[in-house]
């Protein structure tokens, strides 16, 4: 009897699981149309909303950061998995090797990265990039500057051609 009752519970649970999956799927579909700001609000509304935002397919955002604080904020965000391409502009991130270490550790899913690295790095820092990068737009900046400054010539960037 116990076995039969157990089976009954399992049968009763199946529709609930299906409804739950449907609910999750519906949320994911709706969230796919959300802006970043809207999704940031959605994840704090309810636990299942947050779960949907974290399980849905990546929204493949392109994000720009300028300061090491931006990097730290991004790396601690639950929505960081939706960032597909990250562009770090300005010298502040370049001057902070810990930012790149943080990106490598917390943003391993990144598909593309545009970053300036100031060389030589401090002796305690090992240069490492996020592991799954397919596109790396790397500007090397030598301490003190070489001839022509950092070598970055914005007008000639040709990433868009590819």
């Amino acid at each position: 009897m116990l076995h039969v009752a157990g089976a009954g519970v399992a049968e009763a649970a199946e529709p609930l699981v299906a409804v739950s999956q449907l609910h999750r799927h519906a949320l994911e579909c709706v969230f796919a149309f959300c802006s970043r700001a809207e999704l940031a609000v959605a994840v704090v509304v309810a636990r299942d909303w947050q779960a949907a935002a974290l399980s849905m397919a990546s929204l493949q955002w392109t994000t720009y950061v300028q300061e090491p604080a931006d990097v730290r904020r991004l790396c601690s965000s639950p929505l960081r998995r939706h960032v597909d391409y990250l562009s770090c502009f300005g010298d502040a991130v370049a001057a902070d090797p810990e930012s790149l270490q943080l990106l490598s550790a917390r943003m391993a899913h990144l598909n593309g990265l545009d970053i300036t690295v100031r060389l030589p790095l401090p002796s305690h820092v090992t240069l490492q990039f996020p592991a799954r990068l397919r596109l790396l737009d790397l500007t090397l900046h030598f301490e003190g500057g070489g001839r022509g400054g950092s070598g970055r010539a914005v007008q000639c960037r040709s990433r868009g051609c590819h």
Binding site: L127, F129, R132, L135, L136, L138, L140, H141, G149
Partner: protein, 294 residues
Amino acid sequence: MEDGADLVAPFNAALEAATDLEQLETLYVYVPLVESAIPGSLTALTRVPSLRGLQLEDGWNVPLLSDAHVAELRALTQLQTLAFNRVDTPLLRRLLAPPHALQWQELRGLGPLTEADAALLVSLPLHTLQAKLAMEHADFLLQLPQLTALTLSAAGDGPPDTERILQAVGGCAQLRELKLLDGVKAYHLHFSSAQLSNCLARLPLLQKLQLDDAAMLTTLAFLTAGSLRRTLHELVLRDFSQRVPLADLQFVLQLHELRALTLRDVFDAPLSSPADLPCLLPHLTRFSQDWTFW
């Protein structure tokens, strides 16, 4: 400033870190060259079979590459794009000296290009070329049938045969993007409206057209040539030394697929109401009467 020798180890370590990325498909490296030279070795890049792009920059200086660096670059046979801001012809000859197994599809900043240099280019499967011509013609383009983007200007010591050059350009039937930079210096591409019409009529896929410093254009009627009215998405006309009548705006307005438009110093009178242009061109999302990039 660091001494060049002090930069070798960090530079090599940076490339090593980049080449450890197993899924890397495209790597752009911007290097502030030291006395125009690469401060280290490019050998690490040979380990990345999916490496597609490499850009070495030194402002607008021509890089001074040692024989060792030229050999390293020639060993990167997986590269599709090798971009410099400027490549002079001696460097080009060293890079493309036969025999080679290079597969570059994109070369920018070339020139002034002589016939001997052009003969080297046809050994590459180029689809994007930006060059200054230092010769009468551009017949080598006929041996680059896969070309989809072309930027040409003239920089020779004698007058170019514009008719012949435009005939060669018109032979590149796969072109999606064409920029003709006429120039106001002694020898430049003085193309006429009729010559341009004949050329453009042979480019059925053209989506982007840029004409700078046109000196002999008297009308924009060439915009109705061939299938431009159906294919052209972006049009940039700038700095015409001989202005065309404002009435020729009608030819621009026939480009029904236009998404982006830049007009600067083209007409003999100001546009009466530029704000109306987006209404007249249903797909237009960018309109500029000033500087623009594409």
